[in-house]
Symmetry: C2
């Protein structure tokens, strides 16, 4: 057992890694697969893991770290971590909620605007030098005044709804229960939500409980004017059904920041004209990533110094 209590694992940036290293004696592994390669003494010394990424963090890895007390996740979504397995072993899990809500909500609106107003097409229209010869770009679609449905009205979903409200959109939502809202319409049934709106914004938590929650039936209910925006997790949508609907024109389009098997996304997406695709950059601003790194480090420090965790999830 060594006095290096922190294990760092995942694709941290140089700045993020420096901050963690400066705060605490640490050992770094690129991925959790390398934990088994550490000496028994090193593994025995680890009391906290600073974790980033979407690779599975299951019970088997936890068992390699007999004195592990906390897994501090970088990000609000901790679906990569087997929280049940952690709880069974007395390991606490923390995440970084709230500090990224604004950025993710901004991107949701940005995705909708970019899709409706075809801004990637517009940018290319100018950049290619073809504006003088091609004339006006094709007319596109008005966003303001649309009917917008939020699938999952948690903290991020609410931030998204507040923004669309300023665009005079009619707000609808589906959640486990009806919430206090400024007159937004609650739908107990996800298919009913899809049927009522033009734009369906998916803001569910990830994980097994919401897998394929946006089902083939929900997608079909959107109709051929319907647009799906997803800033949650690729798992929340039946991606095969989504691709089928996009290819056939059963829905008008999709604007997506998240996918199954990122970054190796289904190549069918790259053949589509009716999509706006972003490389999972929802929280990817300098300001927010710094705030997330600070909150992760606060959780690590609080644990190692015996103080209450800032943002525990179990």
């Amino acid at each position: 057992m060594t006095d290096t209590p922190l294990l760092i694992s995942g694709p941290f940036t140089g700045e993020e890694e420096e901050r963690l290293k400066n705060a605490c004696p640490s050992v770094r592994v690129a991925t959790l697969d390398a934990v088994g390669g550490l000496s028994e003494a090193a593994r025995g010394g680890i009391r906290a893991v600073a974790f980033k990424g979407h690779n599975r963090f299951g019970g088997a890895v936890m068992d390699l770290l007999p004195n592990l007390g906390v897994i501090a996740n970088f990000g609000v979504g901790y679906d990569a971590i087997d929280v049940s397995a952690a709880s069974e072993r007395g390991v606490k899990v923390t995440n970084t909620p709230d500090v990224l809500n604004d950025d993710v909500a901004d991107l949701a609106v940005g995705l909708a605007l970019t899709f409706f107003r075809r801004m990637v097409v517009g940018a290319d229209w100018v950049a290619s030098g073809q504006w003088p010869t091609k004339g006006e770009m094709p007319l596109n679609r008005k966003l303001s005044g649309s009917k917008v449905g939020i699938m999952g009205l948690g903290r991020i979903g609410r931030e998204i709804a507040d923004r669309f409200a300023a665009f005079k959109c009619e707000l609808h939502y589906h959640a486990r229960s009806e919430k206090e809202t400024p007159g937004w319409t609650f739908h107990a049934d996800p298919v009913g939500l899809a049927r009522a709106v033009d734009v369906l914004v998916v803001a569910l938590v990830g994980g097994d409980q919401t897998r394929n929650y946006v089902s083939r039936e929900v997608i079909a209910a959107l109709g051929d004017r319907g647009v799906i925006v997803n800033i949650s997790r690729g798992t929340t949508i039946d991606e095969g059904a989504l691709l089928d609907a996009l290819e056939s024109g059963a829905i008008a389009g999709a604007a997506l920041d998240v996918f199954l098997n990122e970054p190796n996304i289904d190549p069918r997406f790259l053949e589509l004209e009716n999509v706006v695709l972003q490389p999972h950059q929802g929280s990817g601003t300098v300001e927010t990533r710094r705030a997330m790194a600070e909150l992760q480090l606060e959780n690590v420090r609080n644990f190692l110094e015996g103080r209450p965790l800032a943002t525990p999830v179990n």
Copy 2:
């Protein structure tokens, strides 16, 4: 003198032109330069012009149409039309205000989001298939909470401000006089406005009075974190000064829908990385262009049938 009272001039779409032709006996010219080529009888019959575009409509053309009573412009900005010359000749001018406010405001926010969140770069990151090999796209910049300055708080400027307010932005504005607002900060001096904000959104009317209103000094006051969004007219900004500031990094960037000499824009724009460029598509949605066409036609009809004009500007 014929009984064809309507002259149609400008780049109308097929649908727009059909609607005008079906409403009223008309003659069409591609541009106003062709008016002189019409017979004297045809010219004498013209009582209304349905006009679209940005080419100059001056007194000389009006003098070729001795019975002209109204110039109905397609668009809110009528800076292409010499309104003084029209007034001197007893010719009324109408425009299409309000119906396009939402779309232009949507695009202003879309331009800001696309710039801050580098969504064109993100789209290319995925589309190029390089996400698996290049990893995460570079971190970008948070928009929510920024200080946003509206240059010109008319109807469109106010729509823009309302939307940015939902992104928790601190609102500032410059206008000829202080207005009633929900606590937004008034700046009597345009340079003072630029100094106070991160994002300067130009929502001025066009025309001679606002030419180069966003001057070299205003641009310099924005500073190297400053971003300019322009959805008004290319004329409102000292474009040479803007290009200099973009090239030198004196400001962080610009997101522009309008330019001098559209569509033949200054090629210096195409060399820049710190811009988002759109081909003057502010009102370019199916819904809004239809509403504009209907309002233009309403003005033509009202004039020809002796009713009050819906939206006169002189």
